[in-house]
Amino acid sequence: DAGITQSPRYKITETGRQVTLMCHQTWSHSYMFWYRQDLGHGLRLIYYSAAADITDKGEVPDGYVVSRSKTENFPLTLESATRSQTSVYFCASSESGTRNYGYTFGSGTRLTVV
């Protein structure tokens, strides 16, 4: 979607390397989320943030680090990439939690760890 941008679109990295996936939104949405999508598992929440400087773990946070110093950016870092982290990663944002609004997703980053 035009208002939420993920980069890079594709990434190949080696086991043990640190890699950062970027997410930028232009709506000043309070909430931002990182999901990974794997065949057979669907979308699983990694981390989320309710506002700048507030982050919380999701269902599968191990091996990932996030930060949110500015409302519009929510980078996801894999500290030491493993093959099990090969996946498609989606960033999403929402104006105010989920009560009245759906999420807006980015186009995803396909990450391959070799």
Binding site: D1, F33, G42, L43, T98, R99, G102, Y103, F105
Partner: protein
């Protein structure tokens, strides 16, 4: 255990017919339920949400029902078109949380 189940097998229907997709959940008490569409290589796109006290919601050719007793939501696309072919995801919005839990999705294929 907590589960959200959507039919993992693809649903194939003929153009013009009504497609019905199912979302069942166990051991959750959602306040809201949402439906998303996902095309290959793209992120999910929000379609509809329905609150627990609503039985039915409509938007153009889309209709969603939500039965908290059966713990089930049905998603209908009437007068389906080949352009409706995609994967459809349901997601639960639980009380006292700010995050969605997604099902694995059902792939819909509408053929002419």
């Amino acid at each position: 255990s907590q589960k959200i189940e959507q039919n993992s097998e693809a649903l194939n229907i003929q153009e013009g017919k009504t497609a019905t997709l199912t979302c069942n959940y166990t051991n959750y008490s959602p306040a809201y339920l949402q439906w998303y569409r996902q095309d290959p290589g793209r992120g999910p796109v929000f379609l509809l949400l329905i609150r627990e006290n609503e039985k039915e919601k409509r938007k153009e050719r889309l209709k969603v029902t939500f039965d908290t007793t059966l713990k089930q939501s049905l998603f209908h696309i009437t007068a389906s078109q080949p352009a409706d072919s995609a994967t459809y995801l349901c997601a639960l919005d639980l009380y006292n949380t700010d995050k969605l839990i997604f099902g694995t999705g059902t792939r819909l294929q509408v053929f002419p």
